[in-house]
């Protein structure tokens, strides 16, 4: 089983510092890359060039934008609920970092190895809702408030299919247990341990997307909704709500929301990679490379989808969740449980 940072550094504080540093670095680079990538993908799809000026093919464009955002004045509009308004970007951002530290990106070294990693990630996902609400409420802006309400309703609703479509994996892993041999080592296997999930996939050579295509689809859709990506980008639907819950934010505060969104995308794709695509499992290339490759392929799919489809209406979104995804995921879960019991 992989060594954790705690094993490597010995001292918990040191491990924590290294972990946070590592995660922040990865997330920052990811955000820089993703924004550029998103602009490029949209440009390709729309037969444009995208950013071309700063750096080779505009690669440094995001850096320039970031510097611009950093230099911008942090406007605090009159009438905002100050504590909430100021805390909101951090509240949106902090859980993301915490959630990112739970993912097993490599076979040998991970940040943390917790038996209930899956639940914790969902837990941190739940935190973000509060942040969004704080932003929407604190801004004292109608569009922001409407966006926040939509966002909360959407996030809470889509958490259900998200969890329900992850549960079949937990069942599949647990069914292998209680003891399972990985590379000659018998371990007490745990269905909610992300490292175990990856290890079992790598060991059997069967990625769970093959066993659980329906769950994969639901999970992917739910992640799209959780990260407020089109066609579920209703909380920030620019044609309706201007910019949704972060309408009133400027400068780096706005940057943090952006940061959180792209980090969320990365975490969602990474989680999907772990659950359905075998995590770091892959030939020739080292594990982390595979891991990020898969995650970025999923991110590419997200962008592709965003730049292809129109947006759903809010009630349609909810109907889709409660009327289609949740029943389907329940049926899928039941069928999986059934088959595991039978086979």
């Amino acid at each position: 089983m992989p060594r954790t940072f705690l094993d490597i550094f010995g001292n918990p504080l040191l491990a924590l510092g290294a972990g946070i540093g590592g995660v922040m670095t990865v997330l920052s680079l990811n955000t820089l890359f993703c924004i550029w990538f998103e602009r490029k993908v949209s440009a390709w799809i729309q037969r444009r060039m995208g950013p071309m000026e700063v750096g080779f093919h505009g690669t440094l464009q995001t850096v320039a934008d970031m510097i611009k955002l950093l230099g911008k004045q942090l406007i605090t509009p009159r009438g905002v609920d100050k504590p909430l308004y100021h805390l909101a970007p951090l509240m949106v951002f902090a859980p993301v970092v915490a959630a990112a530290s739970l993912l097993p990106f490599s076979k040998t070294v991970v940040l943390t190895n917790i038996n209930i990693g899956l639940v914790l990630i969902f837990m941190f996902g739940g935190f973000a809702v509060i942040g969004i609400f704080m932003a929407g409420w604190g801004s004292n802006n109608k569009y922001a408030l409407l966006g926040a309400m939509r966002s909360i309703a959407q996030n809470i609703s889509y958490e259900i299919p998200l969890i329900l479509s992850a549960l079949p994996i937990v069942l599949l892993i647990s069914a292998k247990g209680p003891m399972y041999e990985i590379e000659g080592e018998m371990i007490a296997i745990n269905g909610m341990n992300l490292a175990h999930i990856t290890a079992v996939q790598a060991d059997t050579g069967v990625w769970f997307v093959l066993l659980q295509p329906v769950a994969m689809l639901i999970f992917f859709i739910a992640i799209l909704a959780e990260t407020n990506r089109a066609p579920f980008d209703i909380p920030e639907a620019e044609s309706e709500l201007v910019a949704g819950f972060h309408t009133e934010y400027s400068g780096m505060r706005f940057g943090l929301f952006f940061f959180a969104e792209y980090s969320n995308m990365l975490i969602g794709s990474m989680l999907a990679t772990v659950l359905f695509f075998g995590g770091w499992d892959g030939p020739i290339l080292p594990g982390p490379v595979w891991f990020f490759l898969k995650a970025y392929l999923l991110i590419f799919a997200m962008m592709w989808i965003r730049w292809t489809f129109p947006r759903l209406r809010f009630d349609q979104l909810m109907t889709f969740c409660w009327g289609a995804l949740i029943p389907l995921s329940i049926v899928n879960l039941l069928v999986t449980a059934f088959l595991i019991k039978v086979l």
Partner: protein
């Protein structure tokens, strides 16, 4: 049954959409990288107006007839001018256009009796003040005296020719008029 056909149809439409965008992704971009590449303007491109430099005159041919001033819907042309000492032709002494007002409709060009107005090929001109007055005569000022001189010469020659002609004609006429007198 329709339930499943609906779902399948919906999914198919989504996949089709993705396929289309994927196909477009492989095509070349259609944009022009503007500051690096200049756009090609069409022949008829309507832009700021300027005065034509006629080959034979070596200058413009504005006769200050005020047609364009009258027809301009933006009231942005100001012309002064009149008879220049010594030549027959009317000449504009002031031709100013406030391009902040001009709407490039082209009516002045249509209406110009001497066809001395034309469009420039400037597409990225911009004014920075409320009044953005161009003196269209500016490029021609230096030639004006020369032209007037030339014109005077040619006018004089013309006048002389004309006078000669007229004289000849008068003679002829007189001759023809006289003849009957002689005749009877």
């Amino acid at each position: 049954m329709s339930y499943f056909t609906t779902i399948a149809g919906g999914l198919k439409s989504l996949v089709t959409g993705l396929g289309i965008t994927a196909r477009q992704m492989r095509r070349k971009p259609v944009t022009l990288t503007y500051p690096h590449v200049k756009p090609e303007l069409s022949e008829a491109y309507r832009s700021l107006i300027s005065l034509v430099q006629f080959e034979e005159l070596e200058t413009h041919d504005c006769i200050a007839c005020m047609q364009c001033v009258k027809i301009c819907p933006s009231f942005c042309i100001e012309i002064d001018g009149g008879r220049v000492e010594g030549i027959k032709r009317m000449r504009a002494s002031k031709f100013e256009v406030d391009f902040a007002l001009c709407s490039m409709c082209g009516l002045c060009i249509d209406v110009c009796p001497t066809d001395t107005l034309e469009y420039t090929k400037l597409y990225d001109e911009a004014g920075y003040e409320r009044e953005w007055v161009y003196d269209l005569l500016d490029p021609f000022r230096d030639f004006e005296d020369e032209f007037v001189e030339r014109q005077r010469v040619s006018d004089a020659r013309e006048a002389a020719e004309k006078a000669a002609k007229r004289a000849a004609a008068a003679e002829a006429k007189a001759a023809t008029e006289k003849e009957p007198e002689v005749d009877p």
